[in-house]
């Protein structure tokens, strides 16, 4: 029986080449895209879950401030881990991970290699026991035999030592500090939130406290929030109680701290990739949106299959009747059609595999991931099975039921009127186009918002500015600046300790007359020289810029928001205390965006620093290559041991919206595919209609109908469906996109013409698709079609 079904199914596939092709192309693309998206979703959801103790591991976050200025930070003071182990019940282990910015190059023999920012960390010894990161070489109990030990990843080892055994080899950081390799770590998995190239003993960090500063030792420093602290807790422990206990310990050790500051909360390790410390999440939202898009695309592909197979059921009613008359039971026919669908899916799936393999590199490129499509991976099969089984069920049951339910006697007489299930088909076509239109609207709005971000007046001018670290040049900054400014291709040079594109730090260490003692006031500090504000064309609303004189060290320039939130009237000349320095406000600048447009502008303060670790150089569009050469020459003079590196602020800016850009490109592609598959289905249906109506068309032509009449007759019904789809999709898309835009404090307008364009596009595309068949049918010779009957 099965063989017979398969044989019939195969011949059907081969004989009806046109419909088979449409079905298979639609399914192939649908399945491929569905699987690709779900792989992405799976990858997003898999972060950090490779850790066998993932359910016991929590990251400690700190909540600071209250009300509008409340922030939750991912970094906490270093003693948190120490006291957690010592005094908090329920803690099994604790690990601190502190990103190191202390070295940027390492030397081995003659080889000098650069290590990117953020790829070096100080970690506690427990790192290797709490997490599952695998030590390939080295001793898990004594990972760092002494403070000068370093553990490097496998690929880092390869870069420095090739195939030689790295253990015991010495590398020198920034040509001053030697480290001996004591272990080799398997490379961090791509879906690990913690990653890097080198791990150092946390004792190295401890040494930086020489006992002279305000904080005598690292493990007593409650004032700096910079360690990523992970706690392994007992299964029965209450994370809330642990957080409260840690907060209490904090208050005991740092007298005078505000009750709203330094409140600790535990966040599960499995959440840290998708959720920000404050619980908000862009990640989860994208995962949800993409899951929905995947489902929509698969649905569209299923609908194609259902529509074409039920439409064609009319043409197959004779076959079904004959089979019934000679003894087929309903279950036989049901199985036969299920097997036909299975076969179609099997072919489509094979092709989809090929397609996925082919596009995986591009896909990874757009998605910014390193996903693997490995058919030997159980996880990949989970995704495939989920996708295929659900789509298979969705697209097979109804047509099979419909076809197997024909009354043989009616079908033989050709009395299967299509009307009943034609309505159903129409509903499905409307759904399909509603999905597509929704995706078009989404695409337009996402792209408009990204455009808005690109073109938004940020209140400062970052064009043609690049930044670099000064290193050895810092001591000669004034001379170097003068030298550079002599070059015509360089129009500005300044120094500052923060990046104007995205400020990295805030402080609450401020005071002014009339400050409410219970108020939490966080301000972003910028230590800059006298040219910074002018070079970036930040505008003053009152007061003046730094002059570069000695007295500037006690002068502050605030932004409007800082003045407003602090509640200082006529600020210029007023007292303001910043860290330990009591000074006066000499100027106020207009607000400018120094963070993502998702955030409202926060307070900022400029203080005067004649030199810092970082230099900004402004050039012009056509002169920038020359400017870079000029700077490089100087660099070589002072920083021979460092590779020359610079970065344009435009790139920094774009990185802020990296995930949005990725999302947008993926969305563009998905929307395009959804529309393509929908049109494929429409094309199939239009062909079918033309085929069924071929006699009617012939008669009408003989009676004098024009090509336009007939095209209109054939297109009208479909276009009505597309219009209904527009009516349904518009409000839903509008609502959804409005919600998405709420993520941005600064956002583009939602305008009615967005919907109009999406609708028009859908109508146009649908019309082109249909009219192709309609015109073909209309210009066919009527004599031929009539004779065929």
């Amino acid at each position: 029986m099965f063989r017979n079904h398969l044989k019939t199914a195969w011949r059907n596939l081969i004989n009806k080449k046109f419909y088979s092709a449409i079905n298979i192309i639609g399914l192939t693309i649908g399945l491929a895209v569905g699987i690709l998206i779900l792989l992405w979703v799976q990858d997003e959801l898999s972060f950090d879950r490779f850790n066998s103790k993932v359910s016991q591991i929590y990251k400690v976050n700190a909540s600071i401030g209250s009300g509008v200025s409340k922030q939750v930070w991912g970094g906490v003071p270093a003693p948190v881990a120490v006291y957690a182990l010592k005094e908090v019940p329920g803690i099994v282990n604790a690990v601190r991970v502190i990103t190191s910015y202390d070295y940027s190059v390492f030397k081995y023999n003659d080889k000098i290699l650069k290590e990117d920012y953020g790829k070096l960390s100080y970690v506690d010894d427990s790192f290797f026991k709490v997490f599952d990161y695998k030590l390939l070489k080295g001793n898990i109990n004594i990972p760092f035999p002494n403070d000068q030990s370093v553990i490097i990843t496998e690929s880092t080892a390869k870069r420095y030592f090739g195939d030689a055994n790295p253990i015991g080899k010495t590398i020198t950081g920034d040509s001053k500090d030697p480290f001996v390799v004591s272990g080799v770590l398997a490379d961090f998995p791509a879906n690990s939130s913690i990653s890097g190239n080198m791990l150092f003993s946390i004792n190295q960090k401890k040494k930086q406290y020489n006992g002279k500063g305000y904080w005598k030792a690292m493990d007593e420093d409650w004032g700096n929030y910079y360690t990523s602290t992970f706690l392994q807790v007992r299964n029965d422990a209450s994370t809330r109680a642990i957080g409260d206990k840690l907060t209490k310990i904090h208050f005991e050790h740092q007298k005078g701290i505000k009750p709203t500051d330094g409140i600790f909360q535990l966040q599960p390790l499995k959440d840290i990739h998708l959720y920000n410390p404050d619980g908000s999440s862009a990640g989860v939202q994208i995962v949800k949106v993409f899951s929905i898009v995947a489902i929509l695309i698969l649905l569209i592909a299923c609908i194609n299959y259902i529509n074409l197979s039920t439409a064609r059921a009319m043409l197959r009613s004779k076959e079904v009747s004959v089979r019934k008359i000679i003894g087929a039971e309903r279950k036989h026919l049901f199985m036969q059609f299920i097997i036909e669908t299975l076969l179609c899916f099997a072919v489509a799936l094979l092709l989809a595999f090929g397609l996925i393999y082919a596009v995986m590199p591009f896909y990874n490129g757009i998605a910014g991931k390193q996903m693997q499509f490995n058919l030997f991976d159980v996880k990949v099969w989970q995704v495939i099975a989920l996708t295929v089984i659900t789509t298979l069920i969705a697209s097979s049951i109804y047509p099979a039921l419909l076809l197997s339910s024909f009354k043989p006697i009616n079908a033989l007489k050709g009395k299967i009127s299509g009307t009943g299930n034609a309505t159903f088909r129409k509903v499905l076509v409307v759904c399909q186009f509603a999905f597509s239109i929704g995706l078009i609207v989404g695409t337009i709005i996402i792209n408009r918002q990204l455009n808005y971000i690109q073109q938004k007046q940020l209140g400062y001018d970052r064009s043609y500015v690049f930044s670099l670290q000064l290193h050895g040049m810092q001591d000669h900054y004034e001379a170097i600046k003068a030298d550079l400014l002599n070059h015509p291709e360089i129009t500005g040079v300044t120094t500052g300790d923060g990046n104007i594109v995205s400020s990295g730090s805030t402080t609450s260490d401020t005071d002014w007359d009339g400050k409410d003692p219970n108020m939490s006031f966080l301000i972003h500090p910028y230590g800059v020289d006298k040219d910074f504000i002018n070079m970036f064309k930040i505008k003053f609303t009152s007061g003046n810029n730094f002059t570069g004189s000695k007295s500037d060290t006690a002068h502050w320039i605030l932004n409007e928001t800082a003045v407003r939130l602090a509640g200082i009237k006529n600020p210029v000349g007023k007292r303001f205390k910043f860290h330990d320095t009591n000074g006066i406000i000499i100027g106020v600048v207009k607000d400018f965006h120094f963070a993502s447009l998702k955030q409202a502008i926060e307070p900022a303060i400029f203080n005067f620093r004649p030199t810092t670790w970082q230099m900004f150089i402004k050039t012009t569009g056509k002169d920038s290559p020359m400017a870079i050469k000029t700077v490089e020459k100087l660099w070589k003079q002072y920083n021979a041991t460092y590779p020359f590196e610079y970065k344009f602020l435009d790139d920094d800016y774009n990185e802020l919206y990296h995930s949005e850009q990725n999302t947008a490109s993926l969305f563009d592609v998905f929307a395009g595919i959804a529309i393509f598959i929908s049109c494929l289905g429409l094309f199939g249906l239009a062909t079918y209609t033309a085929q069924v109506k071929i006699k009617e068309i012939g008669i009408r032509k003989v009676l004098g109908a024009s090509v336009a009449n007939i095209t209109a007759m054939l297109s009208k019904d479909f276009l009505v469906l597309v219009f209904i789809a527009i009516l349904i999709a518009s409000p839903i898309a509008w609502y959804a996109m409005n919600k998405w835009l709420q993520n941005y404090v600064y956002r583009t307008e939602l305008s009615w013409w967005t919907l109009a364009i999406a609708g028009l596009a859908a109508v146009l595309i649908a019309f082109i698709t249909i009219s192709f068949q309609a015109i073909k049918a209309a210009i066919a010779n009527p004599v031929k079609s009539l004779k065929n009957e």
Binding site: N12, E319, R323, I325, I326, E329
Partner: protein, 234 residues
Amino acid sequence: MAGMMQEAPMIKITNLEKFYRTEEVETIALNKLSIEIATGEFVAIMGPSGCGKSTLLNILGMLDDPDAGSYVFNDIEVAHFTERKRADLRKHNIGFVFQSFNLIDELTVFENVELPLIYTGVASAERVKRVEEVLDKMQIMHRRNHYPQQLSGGQQQRVAIARAVVNKPKLILADEPTGNLDSSNGNDVMELLTDLNEQGTTIIMVTHSEHDARYSHRIIRLLDGQSVMENIMV
């Protein structure tokens, strides 16, 4: 064999009625029709177009159900049978031959004939044996791997007959089996049916041709859904 009605008839219909309702018109296709047909008979049904011949045949073949009246098939009342039960009775007892052959285009001659055996669950080896046997008898063995479109009308009808008899049905229903054939091919088909009848199969055939009707034992003439005359052939 005619007239030998010592045992219960194979088919006994009494006051059978069938209506077709379309919006406003109600057509009475069969009007209180009563007929008996004995096992082994060869009956021809004749009458003008639209008098209800096909309707009757479809009800006899259990493809359709009557609106009123009784239909006893081999001592079983089937008038109120569910579709499923009718299908079951049908596939073991009745073979059909149509004017337009109704072969499945995607299947070869062999596969078309094999299909009823598959649906009744006959084992594969047995199927091959029986299909070859019938094809041999119908003299189309040499065409076994051809598709219907590659055959002439006469050959197609022989395949259709082969398919109708392969399950060894007790009853064959033929609706204008020669309607689409020339006279020579038509005669061949009639010879085949006569052979089958002589081997014991009951045959009921709708025809417009007096020539074909002469192959039967008895002619039932219908007019407006009622039996008006029966001719016994001698």
